[in-house]
């Protein structure tokens, strides 16, 4: 299999959870060249096309994780409070086992994010889980908008204020770092605009401003070309960034984690900012002490575009279950709950025209479940990316080793702690007490 492969198939006789266009029973989905070509009853199989009999099964859009750190070999460039110039796209690793395991949980796309050590972190990459390719670039979702990681609160203040003894040490400092960065970028942009305007003029003798990749990136945020995804927890810091963005005319903004988002849900809704939350994580650090598992429900009912993310290689495998928890905590409908892991994260990443629901013309990124995906008994059977089956439970290998004698006795257990990459990965050296609460 190659990353760029696009498949054809017919999925027969399923309960189709389109998310945006209702639930269709005994329905077929036809895939052509990696796109959904037709959804309807009794579609005839074109000759030679793979047919999946999905009788009794549930078909839903591939799950999208708006906050992940899998498939990348570097997470925090924790050397400065502002590192807008670095790219996760430079360190994509298509061979990480976490990719396959995420497919086993119905996930088809992830937002591979920079960590939360810096107030303004690096640029992130939206990946499709094209497991099987050795080509890092083929993992990237072509045409996905650019995104960047921001971070508020304890992580940047601990790393820089506490760890490196530089601003920010407080939430005041975080605001200042961000405002200063945007102000510098605005000036940089104006200098370039002036230069570009004047340089054709006869007799112009000025020099071009010095090219600066960091300021270029920040200027692209101001121009609306990059979506901010901001690690945040407390209501006050969330409100702060809303005000900063308003002041600089920035509109494309999604908050990540946002545990106290429920406290400023009306403000988030009025701004049009997204919220990408954990279903129920709390208590691992002080800034998540006043959390509630009803967060996603409160945000949704207040009109905020909300998603549920994992930030964790294990939780990513059951985001459908995490979404299901909103039916316990807030009694969301099936459609509202499924939107949290499909169309809503797609909106937050700016890829909703291509993915996030089952509609004709969209990419054939599909998860097929035994039992309803919001049920505890839901088990992914097939995960399909661009019409190619990348996970098939019935044909899943019991031993994932490549080119190794499966009978070889490896008696040493290496617990997969590397798989639990998180927001503070790569900053451990700064702290002595880092046993818990690293998110």
């Amino acid at each position: 299999m190659f990353g760029q492969d696009k498949g054809n198939m017919l999925i027969k006789n399923a309960t189709v959870l389109t998310v945006t266009k209702g639930t269709l029973t005994e329905t077929d989905v036809l895939v052509k060249d990696g796109k959904i070509a037709q959804i309807g009853k009794s579609i005839a199989a074109p000759q030679g096309v793979k047919v999946i009999d999905a009788t009794g099964l549930f078909v839903m859009p591939g799950i999208i994780d708006a906050h992940s750190h899998i498939a990348i070999d570097g997470i925090n460039e924790a050397t400065s409070p502002v590192t807008a110039e670095v790219f996760e796209g430079d360190v994509v690793n298509p061979l990480q086992m976490g990719i396959y395991r995420a497919l086993g949980g119905g996930v088809t796309a992830v937002h591979a994010m920079h960590g939360s050590a810096n107030a303004i972190g690096g640029q992130c990459e939206t990946l499709k889980l094209r497991w099987g390719t050795f080509d890092a670039d083929a993992m990237k979702m072509e045409g996905a908008p650019r995104t960047i990681k921001f971070a508020l609160g304890e992580n940047p203040t601990r790393v820089h204020g506490e760890g490196n003894n530089i601003v920010p040490r407080t939430r005041m400092g975080v605001e200042f770092v961000i405002r200063k960065s945007f102000s510098d970028a605005k000036k940089y942009m104006e200098d370039w605009d002036a230069y570009n305007k004047n340089r054709q003029a006869p007799g112009f003798r000025g020099a071009a401003p010095v090219y600066n990749l960091r300021l270029e990136t920040l200027a692209d945020i101001l121009k609306g070309n990059i979506i901010i995804h901001c690690h945040s927890y407390r209501a006050d810091e969330i409100f702060m960034l809303l005000k900063v963005c308003k002041d600089f005319g920035i509109k494309r903004l999604t908050f990540q984690h946002v545990n106290e988002g429920f406290k400023v849900a009306p403000e988030l809704a009025a701004f049009g900012a997204g919220a990408s939350v954990f279903s129920d994580w709390w208590a691992y650090k002080f800034e998540v002490y006043y959390s509630t598992a009803y967060n996603a429900a409160i945000l949704t009912k207040n009109g905020v575009v909300t998603s549920i993310n994992s930030d964790d290689a294990e939780m990513m495998r059951h985001l459908y279950h995490e979404a299901g928890k909103t039916q316990k905590y807030g009694q969301l409908t099936d459609e509202e709950a499924l939107a949290l892991i499909t169309i809503n994260p797609a909106k937050q990443l700016g890829i909703d025209a291509r993915t996030g629901s089952l509609e004709v013309g969209k990419d054939a990124d599909i998860a097929i479940f035994k039992n309803h995906p919001l049920s505890i008994y839901g088990v992914p059977q097939f995960t399909i990316v661009d019409g190619i089956v990348r996970f098939d439970r019935a044909n899943d290998p019991a031993d994932m080793r490549l080119l190794v004698d499966p009978k070889q006795n490896l008696d040493e257990t290496m617990f997969s702690e590397k798989g639990r990459d998180n927001c503070m990965d790569g900053t451990e050296f700064l702290f002595t007490d880092n046993s818990q609460g690293k998110k």
């Binding site: 294990e314 939780m315 257990t413 997969s416």
Partner: protein
């Protein structure tokens, strides 16, 4: 006129005070006689009763069945369309021992020292930990609070999740915790050579054996002198009941090779009451565990496989695989970092989704731990004479969307409120909204 004004003034002041009083008070549990009627009762040990009644009186279950006379004065709770289950037991938590994970000042599960079995979790359990109501409103009525750290990090205690002192919460079981020396590397960051790893493990095992031999000696001296001549060695006094087979040893062990080493060690030392905990690779050596007739507390289930090349769903499937091999399996959540012990039924549910028998999985969080902890006469099922630890719900308790309607702990009807529900009530429709009028 003035009098009337004064009177109404006083009255409204009184009313205000009363209202304020009610508002300011945290809701309390309620003790009394209750009849839960018209329910489907999953007793766990005596099958399912349809359209039945459970009577709770004086903290105990006093009647269970289809034709039960309701005592006079009982508060009747109509459970039509609802289900009654025994309270769930999470057999591996740091509940009450930790408040905020990253804040060392609020962490009380890990004391200094490697041989400290005398450190009692029950002492440090905070009855007012925020996580306790958060956990119990999800139907978990009982938890094992476990210290952790080095070789013998302390003594775990089983607690009911209601009470204002540790004594009121104590549910009748304490066990000494051992973290069996780990043979392999600790993770990708562990850069020791093979020789260094082996040497460290050999030394750790040597230390364990020395301590155990000392405990055996201590027991002999203590027996020979009728408890007078052994001297004050608190760690030995804590280990002595384990040596004598009077107290359970909870051995945390995960890699397959280490599980085999534990089985051998337990046999050699003739340790009588043993439970293995963690046991994430127990499935690799399930037959050997079954043959040794040692129960296991396994979990969390929602974990990654232990080895990169393992089947992707191995950790979901292993509890069921061990049970099939004949191992007595208990499921724990082990959600210490996030204090998310409320997810215990989902750990059991995932085990079922990936192959475990559903009845076995239910037992693994109710009657099986009660049996293994020696408190099956008190908790773990719905039977007459048992402590009234139970919950009422509107469906399969493993199912994610199921709502827990009522929780009783030792006969106390719990308020279905936690900080998390209070925040929901306050913020669902925040007032003022965007504009402050």
């Amino acid at each position: 006129m003035k009098k009337i004004q004064l009177f109404t003034g006083l009255l409204s002041a009184l009313l205000c005070a009363l209202v304020f009083h009610i508002d300011a008070q945290n809701p309390k549990g309620k003790f009394g006689t209750f009849a839960l009627t018209n329910a489907t009762i999953e007793t766990v040990t005596k099958g399912t009763i349809r359209n039945g009644t459970v009577v709770i009186s004086n903290g105990k279950i006093t009647a269970v069945g289809e034709n039960v006379s309701i005592p006079q004065g009982a508060e009747t709770i109509d459970c039509k369309g609802l289900y009654i289950y025994p309270g769930m037991i999470d057999s591996g938590t740091n509940l009450g021992l930790s408040e905020v994970g990253s804040d060392a000042r609020t962490r009380d599960f890990s004391e200094i020292g490697d041989i400290i079995p005398q450190m009692k979790a029950l002492t440090a359990v905070n009855p007012n930990a925020t996580a306790i109501p958060v956990t119990r409103v999800s139907g978990i009525t009982t938890a094992l609070a476990v210290p952790s750290g080095d070789l013998f990090p302390g003594t775990a205690a089983l607690i009911n999740l209601h009470g204002y002192t540790p004594d009121q919460m104590f549910a009748g079981f304490e066990g000494v915790v051992m973290e069996f020396p780990r043979s392999g590397r600790r993770g990708f960051f562990d850069r020791r050579t093979d020789e260094e790893v082996k040497k460290a493990n050999d030394n750790a095992l040597k230390r364990l054996n020395e301590i155990w031999d000392r405990a055996v000696q201590y027991h002999k001296v203590d027996s020979a002198t009728n408890g007078k001549g052994a001297g004050y060695y608190p760690e030995m006094q804590a280990l002595m009941p384990v040596v004598r087979g009077e107290r359970t040893l909870l051995i945390e062990v995960n890699p397959a090779k280490d599980i085999q080493a534990v089985l051998k060690w337990v046999k050699e030392k003739k340790v009588k009451k043993v439970v293995l905990t963690g046991v994430s690779e127990g499935w690799r050596v399930a037959d050997e565990i079954a043959k040794a007739k040692i129960p296991v507390i396994t979990g969390g289930i929602l974990e990654l496989p232990t080895r990169e090349y393992d089947r992707y769903d191995q950790s979901y499937a292993s509890a069921g695989q061990m049970a099939k091999a004949g191992v007595k399996v208990i499921i724990r959540s082990a959600e210490n970092g996030n204090q998310n012990f409320r997810n215990l039924p989902y750990h059991a549910g995932f085990a079922v989704a990936y192959g475990m028998d559903k009845t076995e999985a239910l037992k693994a969080i109710t009657i099986t731990p009660a049996e293994v902890f020696g408190v099956a006469d008190k908790i773990g099922s719905i039977e007459v004479g048992k402590v009234a630890n139970l919950f009422v719900c509107d469906g399969d308790p493993f199912e994610t969307k199921t709502q827990i309607k009522n929780v009783f702990i030792a006969g106390w009807q719990m308020p279905m409120v936690s900080r998390q529900t209070l925040l929901y009530d306050e913020f669902l429709k925040r007032d003022p909204g965007v504009n402050k009028n």
